[in-house]
Symmetry: C2
Subunit: 385 residues, 2 copies
């Protein structure tokens, strides 16, 4: 039976039992279309409304500020393309370590007459203050800087960046997909500092795939990516994915209630993991920066990341090489390239992301398997040399 240890929580998470139970009635009993004006429709609408309140409460937002989408990639595209579509082409600024679902729409705008500034990061993956200042000097209309990086876990000081951006009168967006459930998020406070939109996603916090939200300051004008029946205040048409939205709501409530305890526990596990990795000679990326409590991104010099992940998988541990959300790409991670990591070392990158079922025993088991694997791979390399 298939049950390796799962250390890839940044890629996706198992659906929590309480979430699955909350969703189930919406498949074959309360299965109505939330727009229908009969008992089944009202039951579905009630499920969506309740979830909207739960998501808003977990984020310190108002329910009317929540725009449900099918996923984080859609929400990020909705912000970048949707806001740009309401403006004359100007300047867009994104960090050099954004997820492809922010980078690619920004680059598409650059092909359509926008000027794109990708803000440089330092060796620890933090946005460089001087390059951010240079970007603001260009008077951008749109700025997007992620709250926490999916690969390194490095956290940006979004509030400080947004405060500095206020004078340029841009819309400031942050991809908070990896932050939700791992760091406290307060949209009301961030909004006060000048953050106008946040992206969050269900399947990173024990909710189902298929639901996410753009949390949106209502002053921001957006054109929808998906036009039609006028759902979600006209910003996202299409029959609501009621079970997924219901599950997202419950997952948000659960995550908010567990956040402080989980963060403390995971930080402890991560420290043990990093001590073990250091003893094996690993380089840990972004170690000097503030990072998500659950994420370790490392490389063993001279060991290929993909090979290591495949070997470790056979030993019963599911970890990631490079960014897990994107499709097969052989180049080194753009995040590590932006951090000026040498390509040889970057190709060794392996991400361990801990979560609810991670324990000290499992971390120790992983370290043991890694040592064995490293020994074997280095032995093979010596034989081949």
């Amino acid at each position: 039976m298939f049950a390796p240890v799962y250390f890839d929580y940044n890629a996706t998470t198992p659906v929590l039992d309480c979430v699955r139970e909350a969703m189930l009635p919406y498949f074959s009993q309360r299965y109505g279309n939330a727009s229908s004006r009969h008992e089944y429709g009202r039951a579905a609408r009630l499920g969506v409304d309740t979830a909207r309140q739960q998501v808003a409460a977990a984020l310190g937002a108002h329910p009317t500020e929540i725009v449900f989408t099918s996923g984080g990639s859609e929400a990020n595209n909705l912000f970048v393309r949707g806001a740009a579509a309401c403006m004359k082409p100007g300047v867009i600024v994104v960090s050099a370590v954004e997820h492809p679902c922010v980078r690619e729409p920004a680059r598409e705008l650059a092909r359509q007459g926008w000027s794109l500034h990708e803000i440089a990061v330092d060796g620890a993956g933090r946005v460089k203050a001087d390059d951010f200042a240079a970007a603001l000097d260009k008077r951008p209309q749109l700025v997007s800087v992620m709250l926490a990086n999916n690969e390194t876990g490095v956290v940006q000081d979004i509030a400080a960046l947004a405060l500095r951006a206020q004078s340029s009168r841009c819309w400031f967006h942050s991809d908070a997909v990896q932050a939700l459930g791992k760091l406290p998020l307060d949209f009301r406070r961030l909004n006060g500092d000048g953050v106008h939109a946040l992206t969050v996603s269900s399947h990173k916090i024990g909710g189902p795939k298929g639901a996410a939200a753009l949390v949106l300051d209502k002053r921001v004008e957006l054109k929808p990516l998906i036009a039609g029946g006028g759902h979600e205040r006209g910003l996202r048409s299409g029959t609501e994915n009621v079970p997924a939205i219901v599950g997202f709501g419950v997952a948000c409530e659960w995550a908010a209630s567990r956040l402080a305890d989980d963060a403390r526990r995971l930080r402890g596990l991560r420290a043990a993991l990093e001590r073990g990795l250091a003893a094996q000679g690993a380089t840990i990326f972004g170690a000097e920066a503030e990072r998500l409590p659950n994420t370790v991104y490392f490389a063993l010099s001279g060991v290929d990341g993909d090979t290591l992940v495949a070997q470790i998988d056979r030993a019963g541990y599911a970890v990631a090489s490079g960014a897990a959300c994107s499709s097969a790409k052989p180049e080194p991670s753009h995040v590590l390239t932006a951090m000026d990591v040498a390509p040889e070392l970057a190709r060794g990158a392996v991400r361990v992301s801990l979560g609810a079922d991670s324990t000290e025993d499992r971390v120790n088991g992983f370290l043991h398997a890694l040592a064995e694997t490293q020994r074997r791979l280095r032995g093979l390399a010596a034989l081949a040399a």
Copy 2:
């Protein structure tokens, strides 16, 4: 307990037991990100691959022609906007009875320099041959005509229209969301006649909400609505909604196996329903046209559709007024307006759409409740007069 008779299958359907059972393991066991290169990722990818084969098989398409999206609205927008984004502005042609998720992106193109021709329909809701010919004379680059209408159930002869459009070298798309599971669909044959893309959706055929597909001739160049990690051959980025896609696959297999029997049974029920409605003085819209076997769209002169739906709901029958997929809009249906139905009668429109759990008893119960309701409403109207 909440269990009115459900007669709103065109709005959405209950998830089939076999579909729900197939999905369940993908929530909390095989929960991996399908892009991850470990055991959990491979299990998820296998689920998506299997579903892609099931969907393709049910549609007579090749698995590589299936582009999964989060819903029918997304797939329709992807075709209209995605194809247009690869072209210089020209002429787009859509029928006057398209769903808003085709009409609205087409109208958006019209605001961006495209010329939009909305093809007129006759009193039965069929595309008018002479107006279609006039549209083709404008040398359109894009044509979209739905296979079956969500309100009336009226079926267009897509193969004949596509054959006639071939000389104009346009891309021909058809929204087949309401046709799937109710009519035989063969993309290979339609493609031979000049249909280049079809939209189909899971939740209309006993599958879950959150999965749909654009079936796409690979010669058609599209820009993605959602750019990012490069999923779905770069046409639709974002973590695959694995459980929903798995469920969609099983639902397609089930629908294909039941199609002929279901259609015969539903056609029989519909005939009984229409005899009863005629006896109560109802006008049946599109009755002279070929229609989906499960759909009856009618009005009782002088009785408001919304009021009737609300009353019938209290009597224990879930039916729709106007189009159920769109949000609250008080104007009469654009479909009936295009069919030149008088606004007073159009405002009375009520849709009954039958499905798996519809029986003769339930149809008779509905007719009885309708007669009672009509009597009461007319009595109130007489008192008020």
